[in-house]
């Protein structure tokens, strides 16, 4: 009898049963599409509100000419509100009506002439826009300083260009057609990995432990098919479910981007565009990931006595899976995204690579370690699954 005899039959039967299982359709297709669509729309609304709040308010005590300079390259609109006293400015700051208070009382012709003019800035660090306000104020004061220095230089008949001995040339290297919706892109790998796992997790207990509990495992094991073939057939069918779940997540995001809904316009102003080679690499990576997840899930359920025990183990395991995926969200801010340990940390390397492939950066140095690890884990758990299926407990432990 061939080693692979029965794998196809078990696989096709499982796929047929899974396709008729409402839970599979809900967990693998309906929920990812629904939740991702809702999630993207909420992100869009949040982004929209951030965009709307681009005006930075500065309360100015004294002269209004300060706080009216825009920072180059920033899209914030700067508004200055004249107030009569420092206390009134602080009141507005506490009420979050302004992001900073600038007191220019001690800036006048006399103090400027004596070079002892002083400005006082009040701000609240818990307001995300305070640094912008402070930057604007400092820029404005620097501009005013520059004017004053130039006046002095002119007075002493020195070329005013000495006031700025270093000139800055700015060049923007941002890609013209770079994929936008960066907030979503940073979340996509997390969502894809999460759904690849949860899609499989939602049905695996029924697929293995459930079959044991219902008695159909015994029926199956008295057929001439080898137990390794039974295990393989189940693993392949679970891989399909995991793959569909993760792919649905990706498709849902692209579909929402394509629909160009009013609430997601700020997320995808120029749509999502990814290179074919990156898509191909992402698909290969996903196959390796789902083979890792599917073999792991099947081996855990083959070990479990019944559905309840399997679900307990799976619940605990989900934390182990989610943590690296969550970490992939924050690692971008730490500057360690390309570190060697990240490259070799399971799941985290897959998440970081997926993120880079979707964003068009393509950290291809991660591809080898990620594929190697995912397939290595898949091989280990495959062997374990087959061993567990060969044990008598696969029928007896209920």
């Amino acid at each position: 009898m061939k080693i692979g005899y029965g794998v196809k039959q078990v696989f096709l039967k499982e796929i047929r049963e899974l396709a008729r299982d409402r839970r599979v359709l809900q967990a693998s297709i309906v929920m990812p599409v629904f939740i991702i669509a809702i999630f993207v729309m909420i992100m869009g609304v949040i982004q929209e509100s951030v965009v709307e709040r681009k005006a930075v308010e500065i309360a100015v005590v004294g002269s209004e000419k300060f706080g009216s300079v825009n920072l180059p390259g920033m899209e914030y609109e700067i508004n200055s509100t004249p107030v009569v006293s420092w206390e009134e400015g602080l009141k507005l700051l506490r009420e979050k009506e302004v992001q900073a208070v600038l007191d220019t009382t001690y800036i006048n012709e006399k103090t400027l002439a004596n070079a002892n003019a002083r400005a006082k800035i009040g701000y609240s660090s818990d307001d995300a826009l305070s640094p912008v306000a402070i930057g604007v104020i400092k820029q404005s004061i620097a501009h005013q300083n520059n004017i004053e220095v130039k006046k002095k230089l002119t007075h002493f008949k020195v070329d005013e260009s000495f006031a700025e001995p270093i000139k800055i040339d700015e060049v923007n290297f941002s890609k013209d057609k770079a994929p936008s919706g960066s907030n979503i892109i940073s979340l996509l790998p997390y969502l894809i990995i999460l759904w690849a796992f949860y899609g499989g997790m939602s049905i695996v207990s029924d697929l293995v432990a459930g079959e044991k509990e219902r008695g159909t495992m015994e029926t199956l094991l008295v057929s001439p098919v080898r137990r390794a073939a039974v295990a393989l057939g189940k693993i392949f069918s679970l891989m399909v479910v995991c793959f569909v779940s993760s792919l649905t997540t990706l498709v849902a995001v692209f579909a929402v981007a394509k629909l160009n809904l009013p609430m997601t316009k700020t997320l995808f102003p120029s749509g999502l565009s990814v290179q074919f080679i990156d898509v191909l690499a992402a698909l290969i990576l996903l196959i390796s990931l789902v083979s890792f997840f599917a073999t792991m899930l099947v081996s855990i359920c083959a070990y479990s006595r019944n559905i309840r025990e399997a679900q307990t183990y799976l619940g605990l395991l989900s934390f182990v899976i989610i943590l690296p995926a969550i970490f992939s969200q924050i690692i971008g801010f730490t500057g360690m995204e390309r570190a060697l340990w990240v490259q070799w940390t399971p799941i985290l390397n897959t998440a970081v690579l997926l993120k880079s492939l979707i964003s068009g950066e393509g950290h291809y140095a991660f591809l080898g370690p990620a594929l190697l690890e995912n397939f290595a884990f898949a091989a280990i758990f495959l062997r374990l699954s087959i061993q567990l299926f060969r044990r008598e407990e696969i029928v007896l432990r209920v």
């Binding site: 008695g215 015994e218 008295v222 001439p224 098919v225």
Partner: protein, 249 residues
């Protein structure tokens, strides 16, 4: 033919205690006869049948099914047997026809041959009428008919029946018993485990009484009655499993 010689099965529980579920069991079941395995719950009947059907491995002794060794020729043994019990369930999201097609394909049938076998099995078990219904929606009796059809899809020479009427109503049980009789008439070897005396009296040509994993008696019902000096099957059984404190009529 089924031959068990000194078959033992020992389990080790969670506390590392040894549990001897079957202790050196011997029996022979011949083609064209129904061989009853008679014992109370927990006697070791199911374990013995699981050993013979290669679901679990014996820890002692030897056994052959249709000439194949249960330890060395697992797939050949499984190809030679049909296994039915009340615990062998159906796939709820498959129709009866799909279920039979699946098991037929596991036995290596395909195309027109598979289709013919499925239709034959459905017809023989009078299951054609509900063949396209999902197994989840079938009544207990209908499910048992589909289970029987699954058992005979590959026309095995040996049938293992592990308490196949347990939990069934009288009509469903009748279907099973008629099927077992028909299988004997077709020359198949039937090993039938039960603790219901009326079924033993009606069906079994030869009986092995098993208690606490050990064979306590072997022979025809008349031989066992004679041996124990009992007048009925129930008394015979009790005298075999409790010889000293046996109840007298």
């Amino acid at each position: 033919m089924v031959i068990a010689t000194g078959v033992s099965k020992e389990f080790i529980d969670a506390k590392k205690n040894r549990i001897l579920a079957v202790d050196r069991a011997d029996f022979t079941a011949h083609p064209g006869e129904i061989h009853g395995l008679l014992g109370v719950n927990g006697a070791g009947k199911t374990t013995l049948l699981r050993v013979l059907s290669t679901i679990i491995r014996s820890t002692g002794g030897t056994a052959t099914v249709n000439g194949f060794d249960v330890l060395a020729n697992g797939p050949e043994v499984r190809r030679s047997i049909g296994f039915l019990s009340t615990s062998t369930a159906l796939y709820g999201r498959l129709t009866a026809r799909e279920m039979l097609g699946y098991f037929g394909s596991l036995y290596g049938f395909s195309g027109a041959e598979l289709k013919k076998r499925v239709e034959d099995a459905l017809e023989r078990t009078q299951a054609t009428e509900f063949a396209n219904q999902l197994c989840d929606r079938l009544s207990t009796g209908q499910k048992q008919r589909v289970s029987i059809a699954r058992t005979i899809i590959h026309d095995p020479p040996v049938l293992f029946m592990d308490e196949p009427t347990a939990g069934l109503d009288i009509l469903a049980a009748q279907t099973v018993l008629e099927f077992i009789e028909a299988a004997r008439d077709q020359g198949k070897t039937v090993v039938f485990s039960t603790h219901i005396m009326s079924e033993v009296e009606r069906l079994c040509d030869r009986i092995t009484v098993i208690h606490q994993g050990q064979v306590k008696g072997f022979g025809t019902l008349d031989e066992l009655k004679l041996k124990t000096g009992s007048s009925n099957a129930e008394q015979t059984f009790l005298n075999l499993i409790q010889p000293k404190e046996g109840v007298t009529a």
